[in-house]
């Protein structure tokens, strides 16, 4: 009978962890959601102003007072007060009708499933669309940081000597500046918004922790017998580093990748909130929270709640999944 591989064994251990497995399902659900959004199946019309301004959630019901003030305002049009008919009025009405099929006020719902924002956009759709932005930024930045950290860590740990000194110097320079200050400084100087910029800033500054761990792993592995055997049969440096050693440290890489997704999702939210993140025409959880601050003072709590819940569920599930993955991949730790 064939021995079970290390990944199959890890998967077996992982399946036994009920909490970890449940969180994997939640993470998978989010990924499916993001794929649906990216392919245009969901939340494509998140920008449409579907409801009245600050439409409350459906389970609360429309605010009676607000609806009546809207009507009153309609009656007391300043133009009609002077007895002069609006010369463009009928034309505008006709244009609006031909554009939407019905008049503008009719089209706007009084309530939305989980409420509306300042312009009456559906908060649920915004949160779904924001999931795409936030998860994509987190994943892409984490992949970039892991790639850099692994490459530098492998070089430093395997080559040692001058190469090691150089990368260690780079490491101590970057880590002597607090992470958020570094990110903010770069963001201030680059002064360019957008998904790509955020990914680059987070990825290029956030690789230090991964570098440290991978470097230690490579130092440990390069003196092991299987690497020396590979050297003896004439495997090149690059081959030993990335074909022989890398698979043996890949569990560390994987766990770090997962940890950094969570870290970068949280960082993106703060960056966007401060106005250095994704641009105004995209929505992310950070931009929703930025709007929610002032809304809260008006008593409109739904955008804050929806964005927080969407983020908290994903981040919690991702963290629990990471913990379970680490336990499954490295059984000695427990």
């Amino acid at each position: 009978m064939r021995e079970q591989g290390v990944w199959a064994l890890a998967w077996k251990r992982f399946r036994r962890d009920r909490l970890g497995f449940a969180s994997l399902i939640v993470v998978a659900a989010y990924v499916v959601l993001v794929l649906a959004v990216a392919s245009g199946l969901l939340a494509r019309d998140w920008e449409s102003e579907a409801g009245v301004n600050f439409a409350p959630p459906t389970f609360i019901g429309a605010e009676a007072g607000e609806a009546s003030t809207v009507k009153k305002l309609e009656v007391a049009r300043p133009v009609s007060d002077y007895g002069i008919p609006d010369p463009l009025g009928p034309d505008l009405e006709a244009i609006e009708k031909s554009l939407s099929g019905k008049s503008r006020d009719q089209a706007r719902a009084l309530t939305l499933p989980l409420g509306g924002d300042k312009w009456g956009r559906d908060v649920l759709k915004k949160a779904v669309k924001g999931t795409e932005t936030s998860l994509f930024v987190g994943l892409a930045a984490a992949i970039l940081a892991t790639f850099i950290g692994t490459l530098f860590g492998a070089l430093a740990g395997f080559r040692g000597g001058k190469v090691d000194d150089f990368f260690n110097w780079l490491y101590s320079v970057l880590t002597s500046i607090p992470y958020l200050l570094l990110v903010l400084t770069v963001a201030a100087v680059v002064n360019q918004k957008g998904v790509l910029t955020v990914i680059l800033i987070l990825g290029l500054t956030g690789w230090t922790g991964i570098f440290r761990l991978i470097r230690a792993e490579y130092m440990k592995h390069k003196v092991r017998e299987y690497v020396m055997a590979a050297d003896a049969i004439g495997a090149s440096n690059g081959r030993r580093m990335f074909v022989h050693i890398l698979p043996n440290v890949s569990h560390v890489v994987l766990v770090q990748l997962s940890l950094h997704v969570v870290l970068f999702i949280k960082s993106e939210v703060i960056l966007t909130f401060l106005g250095y993140g994704v641009s105004v025409d995209t929505v992310s959880w950070g931009s929703m929270l930025a709007e929610a601050g002032t809304e809260l003072l008006l008593g409109k709590w739904w955008q804050l709640t929806v964005a927080t819940v969407f983020m908290a569920v994903l981040v919690t599930a991702f963290s629990l999944f990471t913990d379970a993955m680490r336990d499954a991949l490295d059984p000695r730790l427990k």
Binding site: L19, W169, V173, L180, K266, L289, M311, L320
Partner: protein
């Protein structure tokens, strides 16, 4: 010990040199020409050339780098680009408010974190332990922004227990009135990660041989936890708290900004918003220096409280 300290101090030089190069690189090659930022909405070539001359950005890079190094050595970064206040003056006046918030915040969160960690480490593996750990993960997954927004809305705006924001004149007024809610938010945010981290420190100690020996001698569990385990687990905790300090100095900017506390963090965020590069440059370099000094201090302290540690 002295030789070690001197060697570490000697290592500051390349690292600090790297920080200077990094900051210089970021500001000169990644960012745009600062003269265009300063010249305002309708710049003309004369104004721009004038500003470039004033800032020294028309000089060769080597000269500019030398100017920057001189600024660091003399501690004179010139004046803020937006308010014309001396950068040194800004630092001197903003440090107090920052520390008024940060020192009590660190003390309270460390004590609470240690108490919580000791409690869950004592009942390790039980349902309580697992439930608290999951609760910590959930609490950590909520953005700090949400904590600030909700606490400020609830406790200051709705209930009126604290001023929404602001800063007073006397120290006691600041500490007991204006800083309280900021400290509460800070503690709420840092409690969950602290409990998780400190729990691992306690668990490391609980499985040691000396605990088994103490138990075999017939000591009570309370005495083992409070006398033996706590004192050993406190070593990594103390150094960890110390290491957090420089990061917090700049990292507490969200709290300082929302509660209107005129500290270093708020100054950083204002500088970032106004592209006020002299301040950002100064903060980056000095915080980096502070981080290195604190790292060294933490290592020395570690050695002082735990004689088993070998410094190399």
């Amino acid at each position: 010990m002295l030789a070690y300290t001197l060697r570490r101090l000697w290592q500051f030089i390349p690292t600090l040199g790297g920080v200077v190069l990094l900051v210089f690189f970021v500001f000169n090659f990644v960012g745009g020409d600062p003269a265009y930022l300063l010249a305002g909405k309708i710049p003309n070539p004369e104004t721009i050339a004038n500003i470039r001359k004033q800032l020294g950005v028309d000089e060769p890079y080597a000269v500019q780098l030398w100017i920057f190094v001189k600024q660091i050595l003399t501690g004179d970064f010139g004046a803020s680009w937006s308010t014309n206040e001396r950068v040194s003056q800004i630092f001197a006046t903003r440090l107090g408010p920052s520390l008024t918030v940060l020192v009590p915040l660190l003390m309270i969160s460390t004590l609470l974190g240690m108490a919580g960690a000791m409690l869950v480490a004592y009942v390790r593996g039980s349902l309580t332990d697992r439930a608290v750990m999951v609760a910590c993960t959930v609490a950590q997954s909520v953005s700090i922004l949400v904590y600030i927004l909700v606490f400020q809305y609830l406790f200051a705006y709705q209930l009126g227990w604290f001023p929404v924001q602001g800063w007073g004149v006397t120290f006691m007024d600041n500490l007991l009135r204006y800083a309280v809610l900021a400290i509460v938010v800070g503690v709420a945010v840092s409690l969950a990660p602290d409990v998780r981290l400190y729990r691992t420190f306690f668990l490391d100690e609980i499985n040691q041989d000396y605990v088994r020996t103490a138990r075999a001698k017939g000591m009570s569990e309370t005495r083992i936890m409070w006398v033996h385990v706590l004192r050993n687990a406190a070593i990594p905790i103390v150094t960890n708290v110390l290491l957090q300090l420089p990061g917090l100095l700049a990292g507490a900017f969200l709290i300082e900004r929302f509660f209107g506390i005129p500290g270093i963090g708020r100054e950083v965020i204002l500088a970032v918003e106004r592209s006020d590069f002299p301040i950002i440059k100064a903060v980056t370099v000095y915080v980096a220096l502070a981080t290195m000094v604190v790292n060294l201090a933490a290592d020395l302290l570690y050695k002082a409280i735990d004689p088993r540690v070998q410094l190399k």
